[in-house]
Amino acid sequence: MSSRSGLIPSESIITSRLLVLQSKRLMLDSIERRLETSNSPGVKRRFEELRNETDAAQDRYRRALLEWGSSDDTDYWVMAYTRLIDKGNVIVKKMREANLMLPPRERYQVSADIEMMEHLVEGWIGSLRRSMAAAV
């Protein structure tokens, strides 16, 4: 099923989210340049807002690509591995932070988890590099 633009709906969603992300990035670049010459609190506030909006737009784009993108597309794998690496790193970070305060039983378990997760993340980083090389 194609839309009037010739894109199938899932592609339209991905494309529209990419366009939103690109426009947010352009606006962020522009205000960043203004920030270099201006110390106005209003500009600083807008810069912070735009940074958050850009992060959110990036997240929405990634989710759309993962949910509706084609796995034959190398971009799909770049996004998939980026997401896995991000999540894996969050676990490692949280477990490391907590580990020093934990009782011995938990500490042993958590150390094993950290080791496993680091190993998985390492593998995903290797796969991400291969996907990125294939995308070039």
Binding site: L66, S71, I91, K94, L102, R105
Partner: protein
């Protein structure tokens, strides 16, 4: 500091060590474990989604192995979470034991509480609970609400009245720490 404890009988040393800040298993680990479960669940969800979309891709067998490892850890932390929360549910006898007290539940009540304890920090809608905890999607929202309210009332008998939380427009969840805090 270390030298001062040399030669002290082990029992005394253990007592001293158990009093160190942050070393109290029951009060400090529960929210951490709940947090890890949430992130592991998110990671497993991403992996499942990728695997389901790319079934014939050569990357998939390795991703399936990763998912298996993560699911094993997730299961282990879910068990540990229930253990630390101090709530023991005998799924065959449908009994709950907490803080030395026992409570006989119905099968549905036991299944529901067990499911919520194994999925902390996540609210579930009535529909999700009916499908995931009871594998019965035909139960209406009102029926699920009645089960929840009845279970909450029953849990008060063992000091767990606040353990099931209700978040408006989001659903029902569990706050195992509230049971511990009430000890």
């Amino acid at each position: 500091m270390y030298r001062q404890v040399q030669g002290v009988p082990i029992k005394e040393l253990e007592r001293e060590l158990s009093g160190l800040p942050g070393e109290d298993l029951n009060t400090s680990v529960l929210p951490e474990v709940a947090g890890w479960i949430s992130i592991y669940e998110e990671l497993a969800a991403v992996l499942r989604s990728v695997i389901s979309r790319a079934d014939s891709n050569p990357e998939v067998p390795e991703l399936k192995r990763s998912l298996l490892m993560i699911e094993q850890r997730l299961a282990a932390w879910r068990d540990r979470h229930a253990e630390i929360a101090g709530v023991v549910i005998d799924s065959k006898a449908h009994t709950l034991t907490y803080a030395g007290k026992s409570l006989r539940l119905t099968r549905r009540e036991a299944d529901l509480l067990d499911f919520l304890l194994r999925h902390p920090r996540r609210p579930f809608t009535s529909k999700q609970l009916a499908t995931l905890a009871w594998q019965n999607s035909r139960l209406s929202d009102a029926q699920v609400r009645t089960y929840i309210m009845r279970l909450r009332t029953r849990l008060q008998e063992v000091g767990l009245g606040e353990v099931i939380t209700v978040a408006r427009n989001r659903g029902y969840g569990i706050n195992a720490a509230s049971g511990r805090a009430g000890e």
